[in-house]
Symmetry: D2
Subunit: 304 residues, 4 copies
């Protein structure tokens, strides 16, 4: 039986980068690691890991909806001097409706956010601390993809499948890649592949394969800076603790201070990595600087 | 007297990358250029060039407004099983209200978009061709900053100041940097500095210093891939042709197929470059993949 | 076989209230009719016919969504001088997502709107003619409810059931009520009752029982001013003409100039009418004055 | 010196209509009053008191913005079977950006709402009690207009002008009208006339003429059900108590349980009343039934 509070207390990074730190494990991407990571750009090949932002996304409605984009100008009824015509659009969307960073103020428990900030810092105007714009300088560093679906020989892992540290190790070994301090770890479950295949938003959001609680320690030991996936919540759902919602979120975000990347598409990248045997790359993914926000839409680039 | 149609016809890149190309001059960033650009990451220093996205932005109202971000969940009235609480936010905004890419479908004249696509491709549901998601693999390459305000020894250039090719050359010479094929050219006018100083959105949008029409040819000759600025429309306003709105937009976007970056903040980057004398860097800035959209919010990262 | 164009041409009201009229059959509610209608207020009982506007509405997603209402202020983190606290909310919604008036610019065919206005009057900024704000003085007059579901002895009519003129006459006869010139006719299909019972938005929008084309003539002969229902499109779906979408809309709105009221809830009112045998009442339902809009959310009041 | 808490305590209606009442003084509109009010419809003339909802409204930006309405369909790029084309629109707006009802959950102090409900009932999902949909059966009854600007012989009262009970009495006497129990009282300051004249949103919202605190007692004694104005906050701004924001709001809404109507346009109605000498009419103005909302856009109809 997992006790997420015990795990959280053990892996907690509060104070590790100062009492006023609001960036968490992103601090593990040191300038040296960043320079090394840029050296992984060898072929000049770019892979975009964001999904399309439109009405056909994976939100079935309810708390979050798919983005609604509308034209404010099409250019066709304008009467400017001369030849000029322009088009413009507006969007209404949850910041976490599609490919996204979860900011460190996204989740809390026992009245505290990451680094001990009081949960009252999050209110009707957003987050006074740990908001997504504190990561404005973005997330750029060495990316490593572990393809768990390929490891298991399936198109996608089943809903509720709990990925273990052994799975992560086995994938790394199969792929011949090592996870190091300051890495941005991407793990592929195939859950996005399933949605692309069946287009079923209700099923996509009803549960998912994902990390088990034991992986928190694995990530902590290896000093992973950021973790991201092609599912929508990183962790297995239904989870390992019947009486707790999203315990991996609570440990990773609130205790460890780890930014999570969700609803990404690794299919093109994974195929390329399988092909050339290179599972490491330079990854950059700045959040849009929404002041006081708890998340941001993203389109991460993996560059090999 | 400038004849923008003549200039446009002369600099037109239609067909240069195929009749169905929708990426324009971004094609100039070849894999080789991209690999070289990554080599500019030497210190591991990141500069975020996006401005804050919030209600205090530079839109005075009218066609565009500042982003409105609202909390859908603050976490404080939830009753999940166990300890979990989460916060979530929504945003409503013009895609081009703050730091942004202008996509190639943003502007047209004489019933045609870039590469000869009919302007009827842009309609109430967005752009069938040349939408911003066609640049999903983003814009990553060698960035060069030319600081025209510093060249002229002013905090910011005056409204309506027309930047000339000589200005661009003089800035490059003063800074000891060369503009090359496939570059992402940033030029600093100080117009963002002015807004940060006086907070006057009406004045910010009433006009601006920016490129003159002659710079289009300069950009074309050097095979610049993308141009971006700290003003809101790249070009001088009021412009050089009394009877034409935004002629530089028309030539750059519609004829040359050049993506424009607007409302960026170069102040921290420029100070650093002035300090270390290095005005080149790796620049990455993926658009968010809004399907059929004509622009995207961005937060470009310059990495030295 | 129905020829909707022939029916439309026969029932067309173009020019009837002047060549520049934008109000259509609402003109049938003369001052005299309005005064008589107010005389129907005898008991001082009000029935609200609007449905709740929230995330649990009947839109399954797609072209329209349910309203998203978010708090911009909850009052709890404010620090005004003294004791004052206030709450505020925003909404994002299709104007026709729940209880609504369809304005006369909502539908067109053969390049013309009601009264011969060109369909090019409707564009990216809305409707230059026949917009909903032209009905600002609202819709107030004698309301009559015909309960077709009760007539047929069912909780709700089946999807695709085509209501005939005979059905309307039989309901009026059963109820002992007469439909007169200038009336606001409400007809109850039970389709809202079905949604309240099963909560199934997909099924609600997949089709519906409603008026057949022959009812257009019936409405025309009786000089009905406005027609409204508890379904979402007034007419039967699937309709009577396989090759035409929503022909009743085309005839009523575009040819006759009739404003339609949709997604209303008549259940409380119908029960009361069945109880006291009085099926006529004063009905008022002003649109919100959205400039150039093609529809408006409403909450009609029936007062007996 | 005014002590708003003392006034509030004295005029408080808590418990008057039951401990669970969420409608407040609207209860004063009894069925008898409603029937009498309908009898005021004598000429069949309608006056719409809502202002236009569009980008040219009175919000200068900041906490509230003017409504943004965008077309999701213009009808021109559709390809349905047959002849059908349709247009549709979306809106994003604060519920209290233009003509509006302030619901009883809009304002609180000392941790309590109207009728003693705890202010914690208002949270990130809206109001659990006293939300605007509790007034779904709307506000319909006898309306009386008191034209204070005409009384004073000015186009509009000056910003900060404090309307007194004597002003209200003098206006009623000049007009030959009596204010009675259950009335919907409209008072005209000319502040809307000023905005229509100068179009200056900043000046419109910077302050206003309006009721003084002493009027609360006047309204209480006469058992006024609802009060509404052509300004944006009913009360004088700056107000009579330097250290308290909006004390009239606090007394009327929170203590007396009175719904307020704001940003209305009485100019056409006032001119008609001045002309025929009849200052009473039937007034109906249902809120849109936004679940849990604290306000609603409206378009009241005055019918004579």
């Amino acid at each position: 039986m997992h006790d997420f509070r015990e795990i959280g207390a053990r892996l907690r990074n509060w104070g590790r980068w100062g009492d006023d730190d609001e960036r968490g494990t992103v601090n593990l991407i040191t300038p040296e690691r960043l320079v090394e990571a840029a050296g992984l750009v060898r072929r000049g090949a770019i892979f975009d890991l964001g999904i399309p932002f439109d009405g056909n996304g994976p939100q079935p409605g309810g708390g979050r909806i798919n983005p609604v984009r509308l034209m404010s100008e099409t250019g066709h009824d304008q009467d400017f001097p001369g030849a000029f015509h322009y088009a413009d659009d507006y969007v209404f969307m949850p910041l976490q409706s599609a490919s996204q960073w979860d900011g460190l103020a996204h989740v809390f428990y026992d009245d505290q956010l990451y680094n001990g900030f009081p949960s009252s810092d999050v209110g009707p105007h957003g987050a006074k601390h740990c908001s997504i714009d504190k990561l404005a300088k973005g997330i750029a560093g060495r990316g490593v993809l572990l393809d768990i679906a390929r490891l298991k020989g399936v198109e996608w892992l089943e809903q509720g499948y709990v990925i273990t540290p052994d799975d992560l190790d086995a994938a790394a070994e199969r792929q011949g890649v090592e996870v190091r301090s300051g890495d941005i770890l991407l793990f592929r479950t195939g859950w996005r592949t399933k949605f692309v295949t069946d287009g079923d938003a209700v099923s996509f959001m009803a549960g998912e394969p994902g990390l088990g609680l034991a992986c928190c320690e694995w990530l902590h030991e290896r000093e992973v800076a950021v973790v991201a996936s092609d599912n929508w919540a990183i962790e297995a759902l239904p989870g390992e603790i019947e009486t707790e919602m999203l315990p991996v979120h609570m440990v990773l975000i609130r205790d460890m201070g780890m930014t999570l990347g969700e609803i990404l598409d690794f299919d093109e990248l994974a195929a390329d990595c399988e092909d050339d045997g290179v599972w490491e790359f330079f990854l950059t993914s700045p959040p849009i600087k929404f002041s006081n926000a708890v998340g941001s839409p993203i389109n991460p680039l993996a560059i090999k």
